[in-house]
Structures are given as structure tokens and as C-alpha cells.
Symmetry: C2
Subunit: 70 residues, 2 copies
């Protein structure tokens, strides 16, 4: 199990939190996803044999949010 924290722009409310967490949890290998709205971050717990970080970023962007590098 690995974890990664991504910075996400545009999440403004609990619906946004649910949308991002839900999209991540649908990916193979993602065990848990937790958004911190105030910090504009999402932390993902995942099995590295499943979805890639690139696929996680795409899942977030498909929900209409921007993943910010760095």
C-alpha cells in the first residue's frame, strides 16, 4: 500500500469532496481517498499494482478539477 497527496484546485464544497473521492475510489487498487477542502488536497491510499497516479489525475480532472503539480 502506498499513499500520495495531490493538490487539487476548484473544490469548493462537500459535493466536490464527494465527487473527487468517489471518482478515485472507483479506480482499481484505490483503497481510500480523502479530500481536505481547506488545504485543497486529496490523499489517496492505493495498491501500486492498480491504477497509476496519472490515471488518478485524469479521474480528478474528469470531474472538472485541476491537479496542480508541486
Amino acid at each position: 500500500m502506498q499513499t500520495i497527496t495531490l493538490r487539487v484546485e476548484g473544490m469548493s464544497c462537500n459535493h466536490c469532496k464527494q465527487a473527487v473521492e468517489g471518482a478515485l475510489k472507483k479506480l482499481t487498487g484505490v483503497e481510500r481517498a480523502e479530500v481536505n477542502l481547506a488545504e485543497k488536497k486529496v490523499t489517496v491510499w492505493y495498491d501500486e499494482t492498480g491504477a497509476t497516479v496519472e490515471q488518478m489525475k485524469e479521474a480528478i480532472e474528469d470531474q472538472g478539477y485541476d491537479v496542480v503539480d508541486g
Copy 2:
């Protein structure tokens, strides 16, 4: 058919817009509901033989938003 415009606090994104419009459209007699996020308002087109304005306010508050008087 009547229309009313209510002032709603706390709607921050398109998910909020969908939540409020969806909750209103579920009420008997509500034909149309349209949120303006920038103006913090929702306009409702409704048949006066159906749900009351009080019930509309409750439906909005049940979604977690505040209806502001005046």
C-alpha cells in the same frame, strides 16, 4: 403558474446548483427551478395548487443551504 425568487446562502459550485434545483423539482407542482450562483438566488416556477413556498424553503435547507429572507 407562479414564480418566486429566493435568496440562498452557501451554494458554491455546480454541484450545489444541481442539488438545490433537483430538490425543488421533486416537489409537487414545481415545473422549473433555476439557480444563479453569482447572485445567490433560485427562481422557481410552480403551480400554486402544489407545494408551498415554505416547503420549497425546507427542501433547500434539507440540502444544507440557508434561505435568507428579504
